[in-house]
Every structure is written in structure tokens, then in C-alpha cells.
Symmetry: C2
Subunit: 598 residues, 2 copies
């Protein structure tokens, strides 16, 4: 069993050839992202991921977390690893320098975040929470809160959490009951009362303080989602000089026993059992969900990366196993005792895995460049176009990447055969860990409803039409490249299919709404698949251009061209079936009576 | 969370309308299988499954098995449950009466086996092993062995095991090293030496004796699979009068720590550490694999049923959860606080699950009738046709059912959302348990190679052509039924596609063998999907005929018709993509150099 190695060559190829790293480095405020520095950062992150985080991943899985009184004890070695992680400045890599971050564009931190999750997903969740919390506070909190909390969160000195879910309020946050009352001392602070569940890193022993962001309802708030406010609730109150004061009235009362990510504590948090947890309003009253929703694209993007990350590490281990495990006879040559990678079906599975990692990775890295352009591009029209793409495709990056990540993790077990079912082999952990990523930060169904409802129907399909036009340009370019020309008609056919499906959705979105929504997930897979074809086609064109220029790396680039052909041969063909499900399958979902359930 | 309830209505509908229960009951030797008695058997089995086995399933998962010295201690309650199971005569339900079984045809025991695995798959593995062992011994063992062992195995008084795998010999049994030497006492018995891994129920405390079937090599045996013999090795030697004698030199030296089926002990067995384990040759020397292969169809069939069984229980729990869990707003009516089954995507998932349980169940139950006809039909030509169908489709029943079972178990977690990821909910166990079924008794890849190589190429596609002709007959019948007429052209199109793919395989099987094998698994899925369409079409026709006859059960029958339409809307459309992968994707798998792996 080999260990995880950061896929630096793939990262560099995608960033430079597809995601526009060079252009991003020329945007205002992104000047430090020179190709050389970026390479150094990625190499160093890769070493930290392989050397420090990956060895602790099975330890976290085996030992889990333990609740002792009010304290949560993390697995052995995790405190020291986190200390090193903070000392190296990794937490704030892409946070603004004014808040204590390193100020790198998202295109740089994206592959790094992927590496952390490949090496140790349960560990990587904590810094990811910090980044989300800093971005939320930077956007909506008062200057006083920012001054007191931001830099300690950006450095990782303190931990962050997001407290949304309650037992009765999961995907639907409108029914949140945690309440916040103005503190009787007139200080402007609040007292919070209620219970939150599924709170990742709600309690742990990695940091001296934990800063909770909590959704709660004020006494006179209107019902539903327009009556929810956002509060900051520190575990230990913080004095003006930054020193820690009294222990706040919030505690972890239980840990979940989960299928995966055992190293990450999933806490039930109780607020206000002893008079009220002191909290501070973040942003405007009753507008808490807006702040949350602004963060949502980013959080979803991060979970999408987890899908790619788990796929990558599962693929690496399966590839290594398949090259070492000797079993059976070569079907063509008849040679006995070959490594199983010689068997055509094992090759097919490995290539399917690689394609299902690389295609969503291309899309995600390209999207990370869109994030940067949307924030930093001086031409407002360009920035707006990328904002549209980000909005439109974030549900795809989240849901498509995580669904594929699960498939890849499952295939990795399959390649390991009986050994894959034995926990000591280690591959089963990735399979178990992966199972949460299509659920948290919005299930695949929620993402698909968002895509079809908010991102397409609400704006009459304008952004997707824009994107399809851009993809058609790439299809046109394929014709000019001998080795890729055969893929041009395939991409055009898929784009026609996609466009036709889009028009069907627009035409039926109002009158046959339920039928359209019944096709939302298949449509999301369709859009993901076609976006994959688009990015793979771009990868093929870029690789060919580099091969023509003969600037080295020939073997790798030829491998990319081969992978592009594999994608068009094995993943792209599923688009036609998905279209048919969307356009013809809706009635059979929504019309039948209860008897269909048996 | 509801408990498992045997799907008696579905079972009865499929057996009577699709699998020909009435005709089977008229075959010689099957006369006891009257509809009334069969119903009673299935009701009683359902009660035992729900009442006794299902409650012990999470107990087995949590407690697992424990090795103490040479003993393996099973989870609490399992001994008593097994005692009841044996007392009720369930083990030998479809074993011949001359060996101590109940003599019921396979069409009767098939739904019962499904129930056991739905309720408690880890438990159900033991009686399944006994059945396989009795069939192997009945086929190949000497009269003396039969007299001494068969009835105790058929009753379940003693446990059975199959010892095939060694560390270096998994899918490829040709490299087996366990050796068998003639006993020096000239008794005709052998002494076995070696180690076997992954032996289910190799040791446990449920029975007073355990009878191992072991593949081993004699000193002068030719190399490879033509030098492997089969031996019976009892844990305790058995006197001629049936009483137990000395403890044999075989013991469990380790248990695997597995992803799932924790309740089932997976043992490393050591033979001959103290002078040799006494064994008895079963069948002819060096022909052990032949006996094994004869059993193979049956064992594969049993694992296929596990896929259906786990899918069924996962579906039941997801359906129950979706009906109870209130979350979100109805997209169409705008009503707040609806059960999540109201959401179109949740309905789509539930129906996908139901279709992915019912379609392979229809095929498996129909195949169980073929087994009976092939054994008992007085017309040799008819029996031969069913033997062909069984041979052809057994890899599909095994691999397609288990792949779908995994998908269904994964969807059940998805429907449970965050609760699905918490172990206490119970649904995660089915997901973990399911992960082994596409691996053991031959991986999906092995099944697909068997399908394409042995079952199609070797006989020039004759059996599949016969099957396609039979399916075309059903497509023709659809036209005559108004409500189903629209499905006729869809089935014809899929059959054309299947036939075209078959011809491509036959045309290229020799010269482009590796490319053809690279498409073996997609082809298996294609064949499964089309067989599903075929059986669903038959179900639709049967339901319509019953509705026309107006003989009751209207609601259920209309539900079946709705499900047929759902299958054609959501599962059948994937056939075209699979065909394209088979016929056009092979080169992109086998031709690229190593660089494609990154």
C-alpha cells in the first residue's frame, strides 16, 4: 500500500493550461501568485500532506474522538500536527492579508485544500471551517468583532464552527428554534438558548478557544427563514485586549458515532443551560441566512473538493495495489501470474476512476479561477460573467464531484477485492468517509433543486446559454486538431442535447414544475458530464499545442490526450440516457399513487 | 424506523405471474409446492425473519465475533436464534428429502433465502453454506461420506464451510498451495497442511461440529487448476455411528476486522500445525474444481439474492423514513412542513430503489423456476433450454443484482440525510454489509468475463440469440395493450441494441479480445438492464390481464403498471450509453501507454 502523494503534475497542468493561472497572477491583488511561488507552495503542501497528515488519518479513524466531561479528546498526534499546521501558516493561505491571511488567490489554495482532504479529510475540516467563518465575519461583522476575532481565526490559533442544524431543522432551516434574547445588562450582547446537532468540531482540544457562529431566532422575529439571525458565541469570552475571560454557557453534550470521518468530532451543542450563552449579533437582525448564503458557494466548493480529494487518494491506492497484486492469466498473451492491472476490466476501472477525478478537478480548478476573476478582474463585465458561471455551476461542482468521489471510492474497494473489505487495508476508510460528502452542505437533491430552480428557471436560462455558447467555441476548435477531430461531433451532439434539455426545462418549469424537479438530479449529472467533456476537450487541445511546441513532458501530455479519449468513450456516452430521463421520466415519478411504493 | 417486513405481495405476484409457480408445482417431484402451502411457508419465513433474525442484525454488527483461544464466540442471542432456525427445518427447505431436506423446489426457497438476508445477512450466510455443501457432497462424495455427513448438514445440526482462498490465490485458484498427503496408516484418508483465508464461518459456537470443504493439492498433482482436489475435513472426526471423536488438526487462528457483516466470522484457518488435518477426498483426484464449478451457479445465485435482499430492507427503511421525516415545503403547493416523500427528488430516489430491487428480483425468481425446470422438466428439450438460460444469465443475476443492491443501499443513506451517516440509525449497516457482495463468489469483473468469454463467445452467442427471440415475443405482446403499447417500441429498440452489441462482440472476440473484455462489465449491465425491461414488460402484461379480469388487488396491480412505466423512463434509457461504451470504448482502455494513469 503506497501512501498519498500530491498529484503535482496534474495540478500544474490544469492550473496553467485550463484555469488560467498566468492571467490570474496578473490581476490586481493577485501579483504574488507567480508560477514559481505557486509551485513551491504546492510542493510544500504536498510534503506536509504526505508526511504529517496522511499518517494520522487511520489513527483518527481507529481512535475517533472521546467525550470526557465537557472535553473532547482528539486522536493521538493530532494536536502536534495541528500546531505545525498553524505554525506553517496554512490556515489563512487565501484569506486577505488585512485579516491575517497570506492573501493568495483561490486558484492557489484550491489544490492545497484538495491535498489536505486527500491526506486526512477529518482533519482538514477544521481549517476549512475557519476559512468560512473568517469570510462570513469579514463580510458582515462589526469592526469590533473583526478586530477581536478575525486574525486569531485566520491564523488557526482559535477554531471555528458553523451551528445551523437542529433535530427538526436539517435541509430546511426555516424551523430553527434556538432563541437569542437581548442581555439584560444592556451591553448589546445576547443570551442564546437551544440545542444544535451535527456540529463539526463543536468541541476539541486542538485550540484554546472555539468561536461558534450560531443561527438563532430573536423573540419578536417573523416566522420562517426571514426571522433568523446570526450570532458569534465564543467558548471563552474574549477581553478587549484579546485575553481569554470566563467560560461561556455552551458545551458539547454528545458525540455522534458515525460511518466515517471518525477523527472529526460531530457534536451536539447545548446553549444556555446555565442562564444563557453570551453571543454577539453578526450582521443585521433577521438577516442571518443571507450571510450564510453568501458563504454557501464557498462552502459547497470546499465540499466538492473533498469529492475530488477522496477520489484521488482512493485512485492512487487502487493503482498501486493493481500494479503489485499478482493474480490470474493475461487474457490475450496467456501469460500466467500477471499483475491485475493487466486485466482489461481492472484497467477500465482504474481509468474510470482517473477520469472521474480529473474531469471534476478540471471544472473545480477552472471555477476557482472564476472566483478570483469575479473578485479581482478590473473589467466589470468580465467579472460579472465569471460571477454568473460561479453561481450557475457551484451546485455542479459540489454535487457532481461528490457523487463521483463516492463512485471512485467504491471502485477502489472493488479493485482491492476481498482485501478491500478488510479494514486494515485502509481503503474502506475512504469509502466510509466519502459517504457524507453528498449529504452535508446541502444534499445532491438540494444542489439540483438550486441549479434548476434558482440558477436556471429564475433567470430564464441566460447563464447556461452563455456557457453553452462558450463550450461550442471549444467544440469548433477540436475540428482543427487531427487527433481530436473525432471528438468534435461528439461534443456538439452533447451540447445540442444539453441545450434541448435546457429549453425543455424552461418550457415546462412552471406548468409541470414537479416533473421538472423530478429530473433535477439527472439534469445536474448531465450538465456535469457535458462540462467534463468541455474541460477534457480543452485539456486535449492544450496538450496537443504543447506537444506541437515540443517543450518537454511528452509522455505526460500524451497520457492526457489518451485520457481525453477515454472520457469521451466511457463517461460522455451516458449523457443521452440522462437527457431522456429528464425530458421523459418526470411523469412516472410524480403522477403515480401510493401503490407504486409496494 | 420500521422493522423489516417480508414483501409477501411482491413475492407472490412475481412467483405466480412471472416465474411460473403453478407450472413448477406440476413438475414431477415438485408436487408439494402448491400455491397454498407455498404461501404458508413464505408467511412463516417472513415472521421468523422479522421476529427473530432482524432484531439480532444490529447486535451482530455492534458485537461482532470474538476469538478466544481456539473458540469463536458469536454475538448475543445468535445461538438461540440458530437453534430455533434449525428446529423449524429451514436449513434444508429445498434440499432433497433423501438427504434430510424438505424437498421443496428452488422457486420456493428463493424468496425465503432473500428474506433471511434482508433480515440478517451475516446470519444467513451459515445456512447458505450448508446448502452449498450438501449439494456438492450429494454430487461428488462417496456413499460413506454422504451417509455420515449429509443429513447433519442438511438439518443444520453441523455447520459447513468452503475453503478456497489463500493469500496468493483469490480470484485465481490455480496457485493454491495447501497440500494433501495420503495418510501413512493406509486408511485412504489424507493429511492436509496449509492456510486458508477469508473463510466464512470457519469457526463459531453455533454448532457442535463444523465440516470444512477444502481445496488442496496432492504431492504428484499437475500444476495449475487441473491439479486441485477437494477434501472434507471435519472439526471433530466422526465415528461410523455418527458420534464425535477426536478434535482434528484444524483451527481458526485469526478473525478479519471487516467493513461489514461483522456478525459473520471471517476466519484464517490453519490446517496441519500438529501433524496434519485428517481429510477425505471428495470426488476424483485433481478434479476438485469441477465439483466447485458445478456448485458455482448456485452459490452465485445466492449472492445475487443478497443484493436484492439488502436493497429491499434498505428501501423499506428509506420509504418509512421519507414518510415520517417532515422537512421543507412542497415545491408545487407551497405547503410548509411536508414529509420528504413529497419532494420530487426523494420520490425519484425511492422509485429508483424500488425498481432496482424489483427488476433483478423478477429476473432472479424467474431464474429459480428455470433451475427447477432444468432439473425436473420431463421434456429434455425444454429442460435443456432452461439450462442454457441459467448458464447464460447466472453471471447477470449475481453481478447485476449485487451492483444494484449497493446502489440502493447508498441511496437509502442519502434519503436519511445526516441521520443516515450516524451508525445508530441502522441504515449504514446495510450499506457496509452490501459492499462485499460484488466481490465474493466472483467479483463483478469475473462474472462479466465469464458471461462474455464462456457464455457467449465459446458458443457463438447461441443462447443469447435464443433469449433475445423470446424477449422479442414479449415486445410484440405490448403493442396489444393500450396502456403499455408505448413501451413496445422502446423494448424493441433496446433489443436491437443488444443484438447489435452481441454481434459486435462475436465479430471482435478473437482479434480484439482485450477490447471486448474491456467492455465486459458495461455489457453485463446492458444485458441486465434489458432483461429488466423484459421482465418489467411481462409484469405489466400480467398486471393488465389481472386488472382486466377484475379479480381483486386492483390498487397493487396499478402500482405495478406504474412501476413498469417508471422503469422504462428511468432505468431502460441507460442502455444506449452502455452499448456505445462496449462497442466504441475498448480501444481507449487497452491501447494507451502507462502515462494515462498520471
Amino acid at each position: 500500500m503506497s501512501d498519498y502523494q500530491a498529484p503535482l503534475r496534474d495540478i500544474r497542468f490544469i492550473l496553467e493550461e485550463l484555469a488560467g493561472l498566468g492571467d490570474i497572477g496578473r490581476l490586481p491583488g493577485c501579483g504574488e501568485a507567480t508560477p514559481d511561488l505557486v509551485s513551491v507552495i504546492h510542493e510544500e503542501a504536498g510534503k506536509f500532506a504526505s508526511g504529517v497528515l496522511a499518517p494520522l488519518n487511520p489513527v483518527g479513524d481507529r481512535q475517533g474522538c472521546r467525550l470526557e466531561g465537557e472535553r473532547v479528546i482528539m486522536a493521538e498526534g493530532w494536536r502536534e500536527a495541528y500546531r505545525q499546521f498553524v505554525a506553517a501558516g496554512w490556515v489563512g493561505l487565501s484569506l486577505p492579508t488585512e485579516h491575517g491571511g497570506q492573501g493568495m488567490p483561490k486558484i492557489v489554495s484550491t489544490p492545497v485544500a484538495e491535498m489536505w482532504s486527500s491526506a486526512n479529510m477529518a482533519f482538514a475540516m477544521l481549517p476549512h471551517l475557519n476559512v468560512g467563518e473568517v469570510e462570513a465575519l469579514a463580510l458582515a461583522a462589526s469592526e469590533e468583532i473583526k478586530a477581536r476575532y478575525l486574525s486569531r481565526l485566520a491564523s488557526g490559533e482559535w477554531g471555528g464552527t458553523m451551528n445551523l442544524t437542529e433535530a427538526q431543522a436539517g435541509s430546511d432551516l426555516s424551523t430553527i428554534r434556538t432563541r437569542a434574547e437581548a442581555a439584560p445588562d444592556g451591553s448589546g450582547s445576547y443570551h442564546l438558548f437551544g440545542q444544535k446537532i451535527f456540529i463539526s468540531y463543536g468541541e476539541h482540544d486542538l485550540t484554546e478557544n472555539i468561536i461558534h457562529l450560531v443561527l438563532a431566532r430573536m423573540p419578536d422575529a417573523p416566522p420562517g427563514i426571514r426571522g433568523i439571525s446570526l450570532f458569534l458565541v465564543p467558548k471563552f469570552l474574549v477581553e478587549a485586549d484579546g485575553s481569554l475571560a470566563a467560560r461561556n454557557d455552551v458545551r458539547c453534550i454528545a458525540l455522534e458515532h458515525k460511518l466515517g470521518i471518525h477523527g472529526s468530532p460531530t457534536c451536539t451543542m447545548s446553549y444556555g443551560d446555565n442562564g444563557g450563552a453570551v453571543g454577539y449579533l453578526v450582521g443585521k437582525p433577521n438577516r442571518g441566512l443571507e450571510t450564510m448564503f453568501v458563504m454557501m458557494n464557498d462552502a459547497r466548493f470546499g465540499v466538492g473538493l473533498q469529492g475530488i480529494a477522496l477520489g484521488e487518494v482512493a485512485y492512487q491506492k487502487a493503482l498501486s495495489f493493481a500494479r503489485e497484486r499478482v493474480q490470474g492469466r493475461d487474457a490475450v498473451s496467456g501469460r500466467d501470474g500477471v499483475a491485475i492491472i493487466s486485466h482489461p476490466d481492472v484497467r477500465r476501472m482504474l481509468l474510470t476512476m482517473r477520469a472521474k477525478v480529473m474531469a471534476p478537478r478540471m471544472l473545480a480548478y477552472v471555477a476557482s479561477g472564476w472566483f478570483d476573476s469575479m473578485r479581482h478582474h478590473p473589467d466589470a463585465a468580465v467579472a460579472e460573467r465569471y460571477r454568473r458561471y460561479v453561481d450557475l455551476l457551484m451546485p455542479v461542482v459540489k454535487a457532481w464531484s461528490t457523487e463521483l468521489g463516492n463512485e471512485v471510492a467504491g471502485m477502489a474497494i472493488q479493485i482491492h477485492g476481498g482485501m478491500g473489505f478488510v479494514e486494515e487495508t485502509g481503503i474502506a476508510q475512504h469509502f466510509r468517509d466519502a459517504r457524507v460528502i453528498t449529504i452535508y452542505e446541502g444534499t445532491t437533491g438540494i444542489q439540483a433543486n438550486d441549479l434548476v430552480g434558482r440558477k436556471i428557471l429564475r433567470e430564464g436560462g441566460e447563464s447556461l446559454r452563455l456557457l453553452i455558447a462558450e463550450m461550442r467555441g471549444v467544440a469548433g476548435e477540436l475540428a482543427s486538431r487531427d487527433q481530436l477531430a473525432v471528438l468534435g461531433p461528439a461534443l456538439v451532439r452533447d451540447l445540442d442535447t444539453l441545450e434541448q434539455t435546457l429549453e425543455w426545462i424552461l418550457a415546462n418549469g412552471r406548468e409541470r414544475q414537479a416533473e421538472v424537479l423530478a429530473g433535477a438530479v439527472p439534469f445536474l449529472h448531465l450538465l456535469g458530464t457535458v462540462c467534463g467533456s468541455w474541460q477534457m476537450a480543452r485539456a486535449g487541445l492544450a496538450a496537443h499545442a504543447r506537444l506541437d511546441a515540443d517543450d518537454g513532458d511528452t509522455e505526460y501530455l500524451e497520457g492526457i490526450v489518451d485520457l481525453v479519449h477515454f472520457y469521451f468513450g466511457h463517461l460522455a456516452p451516458m449523457a443521452s440516457g440522462l437527457t431522456s430521463i429528464v425530458m421523459e421520466g418526470g411523469a412516472s415519478v410524480v403522477k403515480p399513487g401510493e401503490a407504486i411504493f409496494g
